[in-house]
Amino acid sequence: MQVNEYKPKIVAFCCNWCSYAGADLAGSNRLAYPAEVKVIRVPCSCRVNPMFILRAFQRGADGVILCGCHPGDCHYTSGNYYTRRRMALLFSMLEYLGIEKERTRVEWVSAAEGAKFAATMNDFVATVKSLGENKRLEDLRCKR
């Protein structure tokens, strides 16, 4: 019998200017990464509310990654600096609550870094896969 391979659900928030373009570049260069990764385009990483991240976990995501322009490169000058603070605090809080810190990540990917985007996603999916299903921030109702 065929054993179903565990396929994590990964939500990737990508800023429109750098990381989404980086993801596009990965595509243009045919750099493969797992299909489990689904990208949501946001204007800037600073548009990502911690609520969205928790929402993703509630809805059954096993990992959430947030990609933005490199610090200093934000299309909106300073958006990713705020993102960095917000996420540093949020992730630290999640860890404090005993939630696996590997399930959340922030990565800076520029429009020119298609290869980095693909490599990041490959690595992130592998990390989340090794953690298994998200049990600590799940809402069982959603899985029904």
Partner: protein, 342 residues
């Protein structure tokens, strides 16, 4: 009357747990007391009250009503209630026993709330007299006898034994199953305890609080009292009093979109919340004063009006202990209650 020595209590609880899921009050860290599902060897708390009342067993904080699956334009309703299992709640005090009577008036009135009814039918209440009522207790105000609560089985715990008496058929059936761990007994010790309790009740600081001024058809007398404004001034509009209250039963029905369908559930709501009565057409209770008034008018006037004079406060004192700003029904009654409560 049946008796079971305290030294034998583990056997007693194990026996009950064989027949049904047993919940007993348990001491937790930092003085917390809560009902816990009994597991072998668990020690029962001697505390007067659990932090949350026995209401939770029959009217839980959230409960699924049904599920929907939708596809295209069609809808399918799935009634996915699980079969309720028999359960026993041990050590329910007089006030909480009475609170179930209050809830019954609401949920078992036509049209019957089958969710509540189902649980009520499957639950056996073992009540317990209060040997050490505390300063916030005022069940006597509403005619409740803390020395003789009447659950399905009444229970008295003395220094060395539990004494049981079946009150209802359900209680009898359960008690019969406990024959092996109980023995027959006279009522001497119990009567002594009752006397003792009565003496204590007479010393409680709130023993003189009277509800006579309140009751059915007193709406006009209190509704427009100027005191409501001062009383409600500091109210935060949180739901603490309503959620720790054993008789508050307001609820909301909400839909939750799951990944596959929609779950309709109900959850506790509070008349103290600013959006409780909000609707697209407007808000009939605009300020906290109106919401505050609603809660106490309901307990002291509206409910008695609709239920033959029965108050929907049982004097358990939880709100007195828990209100963040220490405003409570006792202060309301004393302020509004005129000469009787001076």
């Amino acid at each position: 009357m049946r008796k079971c020595s305290l030294s034998n209590s583990t056997a007693l609880f194990n026996k009950i747990a064989e027949n049904a899921t047993l919940y007993i009050p348990v001491d937790l860290e930092k003085g917390r007391v809560a009902y816990k599902k009994y597991a072998d060897g668990m020690k029962m708390s001697d505390a007067l009250k659990t932090d949350r009342s026995a209401k939770d067993f029959f009217f839980p904080q959230t409960e699924n009503l049904m599920e929907f699956k939708t596809e295209g334009k069609s809808i399918e309703i799935i009634d996915n209630r699980s079969e309720a299992e028999d359960f026993v709640v041990f050590g329910v005090r007089a006030c909480d026993v009475k609170s179930l009577e209050v809830l019954d008036k609401v949920f078992l009135a036509e049209p019957v709330d089958s969710y509540y009814k189902n649980r009520r039918e499957h639950g056996v209440i073992v009540s317990m007299a209060c040997t050490r009522p505390t300063e916030t207790c005022f069940c006597g105000t509403f005619g409740i006898d803390a020395s003789a609560p009447k659950g399905d089985i009444e229970c008295y715990k003395t220094d060395d034994a539990f004494y049981f008496n079946a009150v209802t058929e359900k209680g009898e059936a359960l008690l019969a199953k406990l024959d092996g761990v109980t023995e027959s007994s006279d009522e001497k010790a119990v009567n002594e305890q009752k006397e003792q309790i009565k003496k204590v009740l007479d010393k409680l600081p709130l023993k003189d609080l009277k509800a006579d001024e309140f009751g059915a058809d007193k709406t006009d007398k209190f509704f427009n009292s100027p005191e409501w404004k001062n009383l409600s001034e500091a109210c935060l509009g949180c739901g603490t009093c309503t959620f720790v209250c054993p008789t508050c039963q307001c609820y909301d029905i909400k839909d939750f979109k799951t990944n596959k369908g929609v779950q309709r559930f109900r959850c506790w709501d509070s008349c103290m919340y600013s959006d409780f009565t909000k609707m697209s057409a407007g808000q009939p209770r605009l300020t906290q004063m109106e919401r505050f008034r609603q809660r106490f008018m309901h307990k002291l006037v509206y409910f008695p009006t609709n239920n033959d004079g029965m108050f929907s406060c049982v004097g358990c004192g939880r709100c007195v202990a828990k209100c963040p700003i220490s405003m409570n029904i006792v202060k309301v009654m004393k302020t509004l209650g005129g000469k009787n409560n001076d």
